[in-house]
């Protein structure tokens, strides 16, 4: 009975979305040739804009690097505060809730707010990435701390190791690979997500996508798109290689 109801609800939702949106059958019909026309105007990609592409990609890379760097610094502090193993509930609980709220705000919204407050350029992009990435990274760091096995640390305590020595030789060896892996994962995400920052004026390659599409220079937009795809695939390949090396 409930199963039927679920199917009816799903079907109803699709019909509602389809009929109320402005996508009549006539529009759908004419969309196909227009899409074809659009694609035809993208080819061949115009590579004469490669200096702009390079400039945009390098700026995006810089935004991702600095955004990750500052996110790591912030997460080192917030991650420790969010660790159940280190702090009482009245500290880690609110910190974790705060991080969850940060994670819930999409990057592009953060970026628009940052552009509004500090103006155009890479700076709002860096701030947006820092803010957004910290929400995830600090949570990961806290989990890395919480997952440290206590046995080996107790053993060092029993040996007579100082607090600093316990941290260096008991806790850090357990945490380091996890933290490194999480940070690299987040850097890769930052790079991908910062590609679109330029669309809202927060610096990087996204600006050129925006500019070329708006000015109907689809062949140039195509070149930028191809460059972005290459960058993403490249960063993914490097990330996978590094992660395999660090087991």
């Amino acid at each position: 009975m409930t199963r039927h109801l679920i199917w009816v609800l799903i079907g109803g939702a699709i019909l509602w979305a389809g009929f109320s949106a402005d996508i009549g059958t006539d529009k759908l019909g004419s969309a196909a040739p227009r899409l074809g026309n659009f694609l035809a105007r993208m080819f061949p990609p115009d590579w004469s804009v490669w200096p702009e592409i390079l400039k945009g990609l390098l700026e995006t890379l810089r935004i991702a690097i600095l955004g990750t760097f500052f996110a790591v610094l912030l997460s080192a502090v917030l991650g420790v505060l969010a660790a159940e193993a280190l702090f009482p509930g009245y500290i880690w609980r609110p910190v974790r809730s705060g991080l969850a709220i940060i994670r819930a705000i999409p990057l592009i919204v953060v970026a628009m707010l940052m552009v509004g407050s500090v103006g155009l350029g890479p700076l709002p992009g860096i701030l947006a990435i820092t803010f957004h990435a910290t929400g995830m990274l600090a949570k990961f760091y806290a989990e890395a701390i919480d997952n440290v096995a206590s046995g080996p640390v107790t053993a060092l305590q029993s040996v007579g190791a100082s607090r600093a020595q316990q941290l260096r030789w008991g806790i850090w060896p357990q945490m380091a690979p996890v933290i490194l892996r999480d940070t690299m994962f987040r850097f890769e995400l930052n790079l991908r997500e910062s590609l679109v920052l330029g669309i809202v004026g927060a610096g990087g390659i996204g600006l050129y996508v925006q500019t070329y599409v708006r000015s109907f220079q689809y062949d140039k937009a195509a070149a930028v798109t191809v460059a972005i795809i290459v960058l993403v695939l490249l960063s993914e390949a490097i990330s996978v290689k590094l992660q395999n090396k660090m087991k």
Binding site: L156, S158, V159, S162, Q165
Partner: protein, 261 residues
């Protein structure tokens, strides 16, 4: 007075159970003690207490002639004087065998500079010498640069022992150090641990489920049950009825045979 351990009326309890009931025990330096008893008898609690990781709820305890105080107030050198071989080894998986054994030296760093250097992975020549000897004694020299998580169970056991030996403790405590090993290996390793008692007057206290091993490698066997000492006598005088009394009511697999009984 040169007692490695002097307990009088020591008791300990956890939230839901009493672990030790008024234990009186003196152990002279250089003596080998085997703690025998079923699971839950209080062996592990007693050993953790002697390792200064628990404080007694009642009674008085002296370890190496120093009173047992709250663990927060225990000095690093007092910790370093007592070595502990953990049942589950407690190794750092991603570190090499060598560094795991070197960790046994951490409690011996003196002064700011050697402490600072230890954090950067730099240790004195003397420390390297002691580690090399501990590795040789445990037959691990060839595995020194292997990562700990790439070893077999028996090899990990030996790393745990080597770390304890490198610590150069005056009192060695071992919580069921050979419970996961076959009989021949178990005997070899117990021989290795207890040999320190005759060599340099190190006191050794180990717990075991196996009466035959307990008798063979100790000067005294202490039977623990329900947190109290049931008997305390030389291994040769431990009788079959002592053992059956100790394990009475426990599953038969823990009720192993007694040598010469």
């Amino acid at each position: 007075m040169n007692h490695a351990v002097a307990l009088s009326g020591v008791s300990h309890a956890f939230a839901d159970s009493i672990a030790l009931r008024s234990i009186d025990l003196t152990v002279s330096e250089g003596v080998r003690i085997a703690l025998l008893g079923p699971s839950g008898a209080g062996k592990s609690t007693l050993l953790a207490l002697l390792d200064r990781r628990l404080s007694p709820k009642g009674g008085q305890a002296y370890i190496l002639d120093k009173p047992l105080v709250q663990k927060e107030k225990t000095s690093r050198s007092d910790h370093a004087d007592v070595g502990f071989i953990f049942q589950e080894f407690a190794l750092l998986d991603r570190l090499s065998v060598y560094q795991n054994v070197m960790n046994g030296r951490l409690g011996r760093t003196k002064g700011w500079s050697s402490h600072w250097l230890s954090l950067r992975g730099r240790f004195d020549a003397q420390d390297h010498l002691i580690v090399a000897r501990a590795l040789a004694d445990t037959g691990l020299s060839d595995l020194a640069h292997r990562r700990a998580d790439q070893l077999s169970g028996g090899q990990r056991q030996r790393v745990a022992i080597a770390r304890c030996l490198a610590q150069e403790p005056r009192l060695i405590l071992a919580d069921e150090p050979v419970s996961n090993l076959d009989p021949t290996r178990a005997a070899d390793l117990l021989a290795l641990i207890t040999s320190r008692a005759t060599q340099d007057k190190t006191t050794v206290i180990f717990s075991s489920h196996q009466p035959d091993l307990a008798q063979r490698f100790s000067d005294r066997v202490i039977g623990l049950r329900d947190g109290a000492i049931l008997f305390d006598r030389p291994g040769s005088q431990v009788t079959a009825s002592d053992v059956s009394q100790l394990y009475d009511g426990f599953p038969p697999e823990t009720n192993l045979r007694v040598v010469g009984a």
